[in-house]
């Protein structure tokens, strides 16, 4: 039983990332009808927002400390980050320590802005073009974004740690009456899960309980009629694109302490997120979220020693296998709506 819970928990963090990316993909697909192959790149850009902020906050100036000497006997050069000299050493250090959570505030406007530019500058011209063209142009954009990041940050993963407070693990089992050390779960992954859930809840609430969201949902169902009612639906869809970009970006920001970001992390996630979207049902937001968590947990179960000794390598292919089975038996996906993408 404890092993079971452990695997479910292990699947949650990856599942959260899948769910967030798939949610954004579905939002874009459902509103604009565009298949965005650059969505993984948006996730990656979010992660690099965190890296950028961390580097920016750690920027400092050098002073020579007369009291200490280095191994050659010269006065030691000490680098002091500007934030420490401005706010005092303690507050400054904790600001740097908290750079990943702070990056959330930084990433939201950046990603929304980038989403706007991308939609107005590029995607807008591809509404009327075939899906193949949309895939290709966003694929090209993904390559470009990836290479730009690689040019500035290199090809190696950049460690971006979580605040000290959240390092270490929670002994999860004790809470439920299992033995100590039976279920150990890192704090940050719990936070990631909670964060993902609140973003998902936020997006759903936004769509469900605001007038803006109602118009967007109406537009998703029948764009033409909403347009005929005199509503500028394009403008709202552009905003939704920005929100979808921000969701992907935030998923990336918070994922950095779990996996140090590198320039191709987006692509690794993108392929799987597409599979998630297809399994969940193209155009269905709850389906995307559900499938994200399901597949994340499934992958974690397939990675157990028992599974990998029974069928070697099952953890590598399980998601694809499930996708193939779902597509063949339930072509619309788990919660797909009728008439979406059925030429």
């Amino acid at each position: 039983m404890d092993a079971f819970i452990l695997q479910v928990l292990n699947g949650l963090d990856k599942g959260s990332a899948f769910a967030l990316i798939a949610l954004g993909l579905t939002l874009i697909f459902g509103t604009l009808g565009v298949v965005n192959f650059a969505h993984g790149a948006l996730f990656m850009m979010g992660a690099f927002c965190a890296v950028f902020l961390q580097k920016l906050l750690s920027l400092g100036f050098e002073t020579t400390d007369e009291t200490k000497t280095d191994f050659l006997g010269k006065p030691l050069k000490v680098e002091t980050p500007y934030v420490e000299s401005w706010f005092g050493p303690e507050i400054g250090a904790s600001i740097i320590d908290w750079s990943v959570p702070l990056a959330i505030i930084f990433a939201i406007p950046v990603m929304i802005g980038f989403g706007f530019i991308m939609e107005r500058g590029l995607i807008k011209h591809f509404y009327k073009r075939p899906h193949a063209d949309q895939i290709l142009v966003t694929f090209g954009l993904a390559i470009v974004l990836q290479e730009v990041i690689k040019y500035f940050y290199g090809a190696n993963p950049i460690p971006t740690p979580a605040p000290d407070m959240f390092k270490g693990s929670l002994d999860f089992g004790v809470l439920f009456g299992f033995d100590a050390n039976a279920i150990i779960y890192p704090y940050w992954r719990l936070i990631y899960f909670a964060f993902a859930m609140s973003i998902i809840a936020g997006v759903f609430a936004f769509l469900q309980f605001t007038t803006f969201g109602m118009v967007v949902r109406a537009g998703m169902a029948d764009r033409e009629t909403v347009g005929l009612l005199g509503i500028d639906i394009d403008k709202r869809f552009t905003i939704m694109f920005g929100i979808a970009a921000a969701v992907a970006g935030l998923a990336g920001v918070m994922y950095t302490p779990i996996n140090p970001p590198n320039y191709h992390m987006g692509m690794d996630f993108l392929v799987l997120s597409f599979v998630v979207v297809v399994v969940g049902g193209m155009g269905s937001l709850p389906g995307a979220v559900l499938a994200g968590f399901l597949l994340g947990i499934l992958e974690s179960f397939a990675s157990t020693t028992w599974a990998t000794t029974t069928i070697p390598g099952i953890n590598q292919i399980i998601i694809y296998l499930v996708a193939i089975i779902v597509l063949l038996t339930r072509p619309r996906g788990l919660m797909g709506r009728k008439g979406v993408m059925e030429e």
């Binding site: 694929f139 292919i317 993408m341």
Partner: protein, 401 residues
């Protein structure tokens, strides 16, 4: 001629001429001149031109004719390579059985994947093929290389070791892939006052196969079968309503296109007897899509041009470094020179993929028909000018009459 109409025959002979004369055409600059870095006439690169040409021609049969965008074509290339290397390991270094087997294995693999994937169309088809290719990659990379059953040799890549059986191998035959004793690496270098041209057995084998592949695809484009595939692209629903089942046609196109990819994979292994899982990765699938689109999907010559273009510039751009750039811009004042080098630096050397991505976006946005359409537009521009001149001259004549 050869069952081709005169226009296609001309195109076919142009392709033959380009392929046969490639060692001359790709080495236009003398060996020790400053422009020698733009030469591409060395065996390795010429082989890649021909092989990726075949790959792209095959991809075009599927994408160009039926409009089904497969994002997993590299899987067939990889499978072909593995099949060929296994022949080298078990039977002989002769390339004929290796290439035959790679085509057969890739076709069977394509039949399986196509049978499942083609039940869906549009974006679903792309994602399904992508999922299959990624699965094959994962299988080849880790799963099928466990000690009990080592089919792919994982990360290291499959290669021929001295302990392998090679039942049909004789001591008189070369210890490299060969065609009945003629080594693939046999090379004849012709030196004419500063120029040097390489004639490589491997390249000519690839070129001959590419010409055959091109001929076959031309015939296929002009056949009733090809018309059927075009009908699928233009309106599959209408085709279905006329009572035709289009799936056998698309499946046949998928298998043919997979066989082409397998052929390319087998040739890759024949030129250099190794096969690695990275050949199946989805970036490799993306590359063939780029080649086809860049050249012009749905046209005969486009994919070959696209493959040549990408492989050529990949090679050239990767070679250029800051020093060479400084030489180029040496005529500018110092500050401006450094500035130009600074601007261009991100796009060269390791930045080739950035250039490729930008180029690709530009082509998709402004020139969906690829290089071929670009050529046609330029041609039309000149044609129109000529016609315009004719009319003006005609107008000038009328009053005189």
């Amino acid at each position: 001629m050869l069952g081709l109409n005169s226009k296609d025959a001309t195109l076919f002979f142009i392709v033959i001429a380009l392929a046969v004369l490639a060692p001359f055409l790709l080495n236009p600059f003398p060996e020790d001149s400053a422009l020698a870095q733009f030469n591409a006439g060395y065996p390795d690169l010429m082989q890649r031109f021909a092989i990726y040409g075949i790959f792209a021609i095959g991809f075009n049969i599927l994408f160009g004719l039926t409009g089904y965008l497969s994002f997993g074509h590299a899987a067939f290339l990889g499978v072909g390579s593995y099949a060929a290397v296994w022949i080298f390991k078990l039977l002989t270094y002769n390339v004929v059985p290796a290439i035959l087997l790679s085509v057969i294995v890739a076709s069977i693999f394509a039949l399986l994947i196509g049978y499942i994937s083609l039940r869906r169309s549009g974006i679903y088809f792309s994602i399904l093929t992508l999922a299959f290719a990624q699965m094959s990659f994962a299988l080849a990379y880790s799963v099928l290389s466990n000690p009990n059953f080592n089919l792919t040799n994982g990360e290291t890549g499959l290669q021929v070791y001295s302990g392998d059986p090679q039942i049909l191998h004789r001591a008189s035959l070369p210890d490299l892939p060969h065609l009945f004793g003629l080594s693939m690496r046999a090379n004849y270098q012709l030196d004419i006052s500063g120029w040097s041209f390489n004639f490589n057995v491997g390249y000519y084998l690839c070129a001959i196969i590419m010409i055959a592949a091109f001929y076959f695809s031309t015939r296929l484009f002009r056949s009733p079968f090809g018309m059927m595939l075009r009908a699928v692209k233009s309106n599959q629903q209408r085709l279905n309503y006329t009572g035709l089942n289009s799936r056998p046609y698309t499946l046949a196109a998928f298998v043919i296109s997979g066989a082409y990819a397998g052929l390319a994979g087998g040739l890759l292994a024949a030129m250099d007897p190794l096969a690695g899982a990275e050949r199946m990765q989805w970036t490799a699938s993306g590359e063939v899509v780029l080649m086809t689109i860049l050249g012009g999907a749905g046209t005969l010559i486009g994919p070959v041009l696209g493959a040549g273009f990408i492989k050529y510039f990949e090679n050239i751009f990767s070679k250029i470094n800051d020093q060479i750039l400084h030489q180029w811009f040496a005529f500018l004042p110092d500050g401006l020179e450094d500035f130009m080098v600074f601007i261009i630096h991100p796009f060269i050397g390791k930045g080739w993929h950035l250039t490729l991505g930008i180029l690709f976006m530009l082509v998709v946005i402004f020139l969906p028909g690829g290089l071929v359409e670009g050529g046609q537009r330029i041609g039309r521009l000149f044609g129109r000018k000529k016609r315009a001149e004719d009319t003006t001259s005609a107008a000038a004549k009328t009053p005189a009459e």
